[in-house]
Symmetry: C2
Amino acid sequence: MSASEQTNWQSVHDEVLRRIHTREWKPGDQIPKEVELAEQLGCARATVNRALRELAAEGFLDRRRKAGTRVATHPVRRAKLDIPVIRLEIEGRGQKYGYGLLLTERRTPTPEICANLGVSAKSDMLHISSLHLADGKPYMFEERWVSIDTVPEIVDADLSKISANEWLVLHAPYTKGDISFSAVLASELEAKILRTHAGAPLFLMERTTWENDAGITSARLLFAPGYRMHSAI
Amino acid sequence: MSASEQTNWQSVHDEVLRRIHTREWKPGDQIPKEVELAEQLGCARATVNRALRELAAEGFLDRRRKAGTRVATHPVRRAKLDIPVIRLEIEGRGQKYGYGLLLTERRTPTPEICANLGVSAKSDMLHISSLHLADGKPYMFEERWVSIDTVPEIVDADLSKISANEWLVLHAPYTKGDISFSAVLASELEAKILRTHAGAPLFLMERTTWENDAGITSARLLFAPGYRMHSAI
DNA sequence: AGAAATATTATGTGCAGACATATTATCGTT
DNA sequence: AACGATAATATGTCTGCACATAATATTTCT
């Protein structure tokens, strides 16, 4: 290796990654131990440790005490999906964000929601439907249930101005969450709201959050046809 | 805070997260500087630094030199999607994995693939179609293009036994990748292959990878109806 | 040989101290 | 007041050292 430049953890990171990419170190290979690498690259062990730790977190390396460090055989690539507030996602693309509250009602949850959140069938809940727009066009249709037992303050929130999600982000942080993605067909009603036709393929995102096992909210987000979620890996 | 226990970076991490969750520190609030926190919690600044750094990476904190550390106002939650090899995903659920090669042909790419990968229209490429099964049922239909210019060894690979993706993972690591998800309708052909009906909603994953700007592969993965991708946040 | 106790080892983490760097705050000049 | 130079400061990182911990290797005992 060239060396000569300054050795910081980032450069160690890059150098190790380079050796993996050039297949100097192949999947399954054991790489030199931290002390040796530190000596080779002219830096402290702590610096090498930091670099290798990050590489392990990124999925390129497998590390085990005493056993050493080896190149991952099945580099599970981790796509980091940023799940921003919809408003910021739209505004971030330079589009104009719009939001409309379609319905709020206070009632007991459906059996499905009970199962999702793990709450009783007699729970006090808020059911909210809303539509998010980008440049005036329907972008995402949201159907959400919020537990009033867990987040009583929600009943005083003005959900005609700020979306339930944004309100929750600011007032009810969660400790645990679940998110899933799938493809579904638009129903008659959904199609009408999203201004498309029944049977159109819709991207569905379902999110459920808890605060220490107390269910907060469960939401079903239906994106208008053409939506693509993407990410770098 | 209680304290008394041993102070390691993990406990600092958890304590700070607790203060955020209990809204002792609210979104937008500035939190004590590292030196103060270290004093409060009875540990070295390096330890606090490690904890806060992780929390910032997780999206709970915003940190800036001189400006200090504050609780994120819009906690962008990062869903970490593990993108494993399909075989491992299926076997990991205890199902039996099956794989069938449907077609391989060596030809020039379609304009769409050219655009995706950024290669010339006269590139030498391998076009591969295959079907992945779980417990004998169609699970995912894959249509892939591999650049022979970038990965010449692919022509000697036996793709009837091992999927192109698995072969690539082992023999052609990438430095850059792009992944996107969307919902589409099954075409007649796709429906036939996945043993469903035309017009069924399919979850589509598109992946493209490069090695230093040299396009490696572009793949279109169509999952059978009912597929759900999920993750904890 | 086989099992249990013990030693060895590579990574994991903590610490104090130092300097680097990006930003903000302040001061002086016009 | 506006502007540019300068000082102050919180985080970012590196270093050398020490000890903890988990896993493996070795030895000892039956």
